[in-house]
């Protein structure tokens, strides 16, 4: 009888200037969340860095939580876009893998380590403050690599006797671990070299076991055949 319609949310402004504001807030919000993590980040700081009032922030984002979610989504989108756009699909899987790792490292290190931390550490508060749509984000985020590994298995470049999930951990794990190190120790990192090294290190584990050995043996046998037939 008295459904007592929910009171209306003030709609965020829409328009070219508004879009710029949204972008600004997201940019600064990303910084702040990355630096401080969800709990220690304050809307006050976001507003101050932008030189606007706190109310302005809440004009464009309904809550701190929503702002954070958008920050994370945007960042995921950037990574996904960067990888999907630049992936050299015609090249061998190994080179594609190098590209994936390099792109991740690069994007993370430009500004993303804090965000990485944010996602990882806030992701676990499932059902609390953030984390409702996290599983899905996580899925999209790892999708390009999963796809790449699957194609590798199909083409025979990647071993088939290990679940994809585990292979994924094998790639992302060390990568993220290296990033943590950077974050914690503050040591610099040469992304290009690190990416190449890491893939070089991983590759034998991803390949069919003894594959290289088998190929080299075949190569030697054929060379011997050639020399003998001369």
């Amino acid at each position: 009888m008295n459904p007592v319609a929910a009171p209306p949310q003030r709609r965020a402004p829409a328009g070219p200037k508004a879009e710029q504001r949204v972008r600004d807030i997201l940019r600064v919000g990303r910084e702040v969340f990355a630096e401080r993590g969800y709990e220690r980040a304050t809307t006050t700081e976001v507003a101050q860095r932008l030189g606007v009032s706190e109310a302005t922030v809440f004009t464009y984002f309904r809550s701190k939580r929503e702002l954070c979610m958008r920050v994370i989504q945007d960042w995921y989108d950037e990574i996904i876009t960067a990888i999907e756009a630049g992936l050299p699909r015609e090249k061998p899987v190994r080179e594609q893998l190098e590209f994936v790792v390099l792109t991740h490292l690069r994007l993370f290190l430009i500004q993303g380590t804090g965000l990485c931390a944010l996602v990882l550490s806030e992701g676990r508060t499932k059902g609390q403050d953030l984390g409702e749509g996290f599983v899905e984000l996580q899925r999209r985020y790892t999708a390009p690599l999963m796809d790449l590994l699957a194609r590798g298995q199909a083409s025979g470049e990647v071993r088939r006797d290990i679940p994809l999930r585990l292979l994924r951990s094998l790639v992302f794990g060390p990568m993220e671990h290296m990033l943590w190190e950077v974050v914690i120790t503050g040591r610099q990192l040469d992304v290009e070299t690190s990416a190449r090294d890491l893939v070089a290190l991983l590759w034998p584990a991803l390949q069919a076991p003894g594959d290289e050995l088998l190929r080299l043996r075949r190569l030697r046998a054929r060379l011997q055949d050639v020399l003998a037939s001369d």
Copy 2:
């Protein structure tokens, strides 16, 4: 020069009863920090679970921050102790590695995913709230593995052409990544199987490339040189 006495720091009580109190608070503190993370954990909750007043907690720990640091230290100590005590040093490196991975996974999963998250996510707030002594803790924490890998290199069971640091990331990285997956998705994990699978996967990458393989590689390289110089 500075005759003004230092402000009287209230000292924590001493004695056997006091030590028990400290242990109790640390035990419960570990639970609470693990479940909620640093920010969302409250001293209130620690006190309530223990059935004491909040003030009591502050009688034994100067601050929430200090309590958290001690919780983390204790937990590190447990892992280090468990590994050092059980490590089968006489067995091949590969088996020792399996032990290390298994022990980590087990300790993390028994009660530690939250602590893992705690360490990882609070570790990054370098110079803020926690994190002063983190680099040192991190060092001690990874020491057993570093040591193991070094011995492996010395004995020729582990390749020498890759920096230890990278090898360490190769082991810890996927391990932690698997743990995050468990935390985020809530999926169960068979630690024994997972540990064995993971090491099996990593082993080819850690091993010194076999002798035959090395010789074959050298052969191929020389042949390529000859053909190129033609």
Copy 3:
């Protein structure tokens, strides 16, 4: 003496189009204030339901307070008009009373319970936000009934030995109490039946006691005096 011009009050626009705007805002404002009460009503909601910007509302009304006052005034005017227009002055006072009660109940229940609540609950904040002109509004609002009762007294249909004010409370009081019940419990109410029942119930109390009754009462009073003086 005071050559400083008064601060430029922005004047509300004038013209036929402007009048329509004012009417629209008042209509929607009435809805919103009725549904939510003064404090919980927001200018945002008024604007949104009307499809205009918030600023527009403030173009036509200086403040939320002023809008609310106008809403209440308009509503009073409607009731007063409805009653004055429809009152069957030639009929007996009792029937006129039934008309007054019925009209009140009907207008309140159509859309007015919220407004009734608004008036009653905001009326008390005398000298605060609303309530400056409330006494006057209240007077105009009860004027038709007061007039009716006065005419009843003049014609002998209504007792003269009770102050008008009290008689008014006797009519409005139960009526409003019934309305509150509807508002609070959400129960339905048949206005026609309720109006008739209520007047039937009140009528004996409003009527001049019949001649015989009066004489008998006087008789009893004198007997009691005689007995008491004995």
Copy 4:
């Protein structure tokens, strides 16, 4: 799997001093809510009038809402207690009714008009902020009168042809209306006189119709018989 136990509420202190505090806060809270209504009342003001910090208020009451509920409950309890304790059950129903009306008027006017307003105006926000247990409170509040009227009907002192609910409105309605008048106009009121007048006015309406007339006729007949038989 991760029920994520709800974080614990800090328990309100218990003890003799604490009880005094609770009483103080309730006393001042009653004042503030009565003066301002729910929305306009602020926890800040409650704290300031008490000369304590705002946090102290929240140490004893979890929220503004809870404080307000307790204020209202206490006030209901006072009225109910006062009436149940003083009701002269052996006297005629009419005198009991006078007592009920008088007690209500008195309690309301001492400090309760604001609270009356509070209950009435906030009661309607059912399912919003307050108002969960309101129907029940309302029931307890009117119970003494309902009971009295029911006993009156049983003994034949009150007419039986009208639903109790309507009779209740007939008593409470004018009473509250008079109170509103006092609140709005600020006029003084002699409670004793007003109570007697009001009941005198209502009584004919509550009695069986023509009842008084019939009784007086019987009285006269018997008196005549007595005189004649002398």
